[in-house]
């Protein structure tokens, strides 16, 4: 149970701070003495947090599903021909800055949540895809040979052998993807999506460092919480599937 304590504690701090930011008014007034308004009030932090999180969760869910499915298809006998293409796309796509994706998506999808969701899915897909390929390709061929040779159907080999063995690496890919996307989602505020990037953008526009800090602190905390949640998930996975820390 001790495993889940850090993410739980961080989550409490995150929610508490989002709900009770005005309590810290004296601190922010000391940082930014020349402004009348030092606590961002064009939307509650809890709402922004919730919306930010929703964007990340939806994009992670869609991205994971698409990337794992793609990775599995590319490693099946029928999809082998696509493997080099898919792994190249996975590596090259990562060099594309998310802002560029946003700029290209806005004319097509308009302002608001849609283009940022699109960018997040596209961008978050790649680390997961890369890790799915690495995880599946990294399985000892003798293990696969034995599984097939002893009478498992292709689906049984995938579900009972390959995914449990590759799962740890896939999970690490999802962790990277989600952590990156928590930061990237904030950019959505520039095109009208409501995220924790709102106070940051507003602060930058008005020269209000206090606003910037409030947004940045909450985004940072959210990233830390999520990361420690994945840390706990990965450890739980290890206990379940690779008790000696052994990979195939």
């Amino acid at each position: 149970m001790r495993l889940w304590l850090p993410p739980a504690l961080l989550a409490v701090v995150l929610c508490g701070l989002s709900a009770a930011m005005p309590v810290l008014e004296p601190l922010f007034r000391w940082i930014q003495p020349d402004k009348q308004q030092v606590i961002y009030d064009r939307g509650s932090f809890l709402f922004l947090l919730q919306n930010h999180l929703l964007l990340v969760v939806i994009s992670a869910a869609v991205g994971t599903f698409a990337a794992v499915a793609g990775g599995i298809l590319a490693t099946r006998p029928a999809g082998r021909d696509f493997l080099p293409l898919v792994s190249q796309v996975a590596s090259i796509g990562q060099t594309f800055p998310p802002v560029a994706v946003l700029a290209l998506a806005v004319p097509v999808l308009g302002f608001g949540e849609a283009p940022i969701l699109f960018a997040l899915i596209l961008y978050g897909l790649l680390p997961i895809l890369r890790n799915t390929l690495a995880g599946l390709e990294g399985i000892n061929p003798a293990v696969r040979e034995a599984a097939t040779g002893m009478g498992m159907s292709p689906l049984q080999v995938l579900v009972r052998v390959e995914l449990p063995l590759a799962g740890r690496i896939i999970l690490a890919g999802i962790r990277t993807s989600v952590t990156i996307n928590i930061a990237t989602a904030a950019i959505g505020s520039t095109i009208g999506a409501r995220t924790l990037g709102d106070p940051v953008i507003a602060g930058l526009v008005n020269g209000n460092t206090a606003y910037v800090l409030q947004g940045a602190i909450l985004i940072g905390l959210l990233a830390l919480t999520t990361d420690s949640l994945f840390e706990a998930l990965e450890r739980t996975w290890d206990r379940r599937f690779s008790p000696q820390g052994a990979m195939a």
Binding site: N140, A142, V143, R144, E145, A146, A147, T148, G149, M150, G151, M152, S153, Q156, V161, P164, L165, F241, S242, P243, Q244, A246, M247, A248
Partner: protein, 315 residues
């Protein structure tokens, strides 16, 4: 019974297996032997349809394998490979239980079977059942591999260089174990190796392969006495044949039995009836004895064997 009729396998333009005809009788151990790339593994992998054959037909108990569901076919064939292929995320017990679980045996039957097999392969269930494969030594892991293959009591056992990656002493033990188990369970076995000594030791019949063809298919003794070609002759070792023939025959064949077994002195140097003549000769040479006493499995002295007789009739 497994029958291969004119079986051919091509990879692109190269012919890996060329019109092979081979019949493996029920209960016999057929060893495919040859240098690497001769097509022996390919032949084995076509029997359980891991590789489809390009031409010819493969029959298992009279049924054409291409017409059968490959999963059903494989569930009735134990498969042991070099490097074991044990599932690293499963315990030893779960690994052995793989095929029974696929066949949806009831839980208690699986547990009992796993226990039975671990004992058969000389693995203590209490200490090893809950270990993971990476905690085992090479020899233990390979025993688990064999147990896993035997789990659902298949009629056929396919073994692809199973003892190729373990050290010489462990290999020797595993070979003896395999002979012992084979006496108990009598599986129709196809065994692939590049080691002619392993082949001579384990086989009822040996199929010598070269360049995708079977050069000779015969008993170990006939392979040694009447090699079909220069290739077979060099494979079995021209000069070494006398001793190899001796190692095929048990001491029982040439000993002079006592009228009734005598109780043995404790600590007597035990040469068993099942030991081979080569070993008997070696014992006599080392201890400089003209003859040596032979004991049965219960430790009673049942006869003597002389150096003279081995040299006259041994090979």
């Amino acid at each position: 019974m497994i029958e291969l009729r004119n079986v051919t396998r091509r990879f692109g333009d190269t012919v890996a297996v060329d019109r092979v005809n081979l019949t493996i009788e029920t209960g016999e151990v057929c060893v495919l032997v040859g240098s690497s790339g001769c097509g022996k593994s390919t032949t084995l992998r076509m029997i359980n349809h891991l590789l489809p054959h390009s031409a010819g037909e493969i029959l298992v108990d009279g049924e054409d394998t291409t017409a059968m569901n490959p999963q059903q076919l494989r569930l009735n064939m134990g498969y042991v490979i070099q490097g074991t292929g044990l599932f690293p995320h499963w315990t030893v017990a779960r690994n052995i239980a793989m095929v029974p679980r696929l066949l949806k045996w009831p839980r208690q039957r699986i547990d009992a079977r796993v226990d039975e097999l671990m004992k058969l392969l000389d693995l203590d269930p209490a200490t090893h059942a809950h270990k993971y494969p990476q905690q085992l030594s090479g020899g233990q892991a390979q025993r688990v591999g064999v147990a896993r293959a035997l789990a659902a009591d298949p009629n056929i056992l396919l073994m692809d260089e199973p003892f190729g990656a373990v050290d010489a002493i462990t290999r020797e033990n595993l070979q003896l174990e395999m002979l012992r188990i084979q006496r108990q369970v009598r599986k129709t076995t196809v065994f692939v190796t590049h080691d002619i000594d392993e082949a001579l030791k384990l086989a009822s019949r040996i199929a010598v392969m070269d360049q995708g063809r079977i050069i000779q298919h015969d008993t170990p003794e006939n392979i040694l006495r009447r090699p079909a070609s220069d290739f077979v002759e060099s494979l079995v070792g021209k000069q070494d044949r006398g001793l190899k023939l001796m190692s095929l025959r048990p001491v029982r064949d040439l000993m002079t039995p006592h009228g009734s077994p005598k109780p043995s002195r404790p600590g007597a140097d035990v040469l068993r009836e099942d030991d081979n003549l080569r070993l008997a000769l070696s014992v006599m040479l080392w201890q400089d004895l003209p003859q040596v006493a032979v004991f049965n499995a219960r430790g009673e002295e049942t006869g003597v064997i002389t150096r003279e007789r081995i040299i006259q009739e041994g090979a």
